[in-house]
Point group: C2
Chain length 93, copies 2
DNA sequence: TTATTATATGTCTAAATAGCTAAATAGTAA
DNA sequence: TTACTATTTAGCTATTTAGACATATAATAA
């Protein structure tokens, strides 16, 4: 269920993209300027984030605007806390 | 800093090992019985968790007992919450 | 010493990953 | 239509990864 999110989160570039998008939606090109990578490389990372449903995209003319899917991020955080936080493992049983 | 932890967390088998160890220390062999994988495969996963400092091991005769490094798990959770939780990105600045 | 048990490590294979350049696509405008 | 811009996709390479089996190591016991 959260497998894709974990995989997406395992890459530092993608984590930075998520942090960037926390400050607001951005164009694929704008996102790419924050990295030393070639633009297609960043595009691939965006595709991974999109496949994990962590971001949503929306075309505006020739631009494609990426936006954080806050719900998924929050759900994942809750799941992570439930499974690895706390102290004794199964307080929900 | 948390790169190793993210990588370790990205594998489902390792996540299950962490969940198992939340219930208490276990022998490498005991851990292995919970999975369909060959013993060396589980041993390799334990080595990854150990490299990420997520677990600590301690020999007891021929056995090696693995234990969760709760501090690292908590630190990672705090870091994840700080970076991906909340709503506006840089409340710590 | 030898034998046995528990675990790790060597070595290989198949699959996945991240990076690149080049080419394709989608939209806009002349 | 052509031309231009923004972005994705194709195709490739190098690296990493997870899995397996075989072998090595470490501790104990006889």
């Amino acid at each position: 269920m959260h497998e894709g999110v974990f995989k997406a989160m395992s890459d530092p570039t993608r984590r930075r993209i998520i942090e960037l998008l926390k400050e607001g939606p951005q164009t694929a090109g704008q996102i790419a300027t924050h990295f030393a990578h070639a633009q297609p490389t960043v595009s691939r990372h965006l595709a991974v984030l999109k496949a994990a449903n962590l971001v949503v995209d929306q075309r505006d003319g020739t631009f494609i605007i990426y936006q954080l899917n806050t719900t998924i991020v929050q759900d994942w955080l809750a799941w992570v806390l439930e499974h690895f936080g706390g102290g004794h493992g199964d307080e929900t049983n």
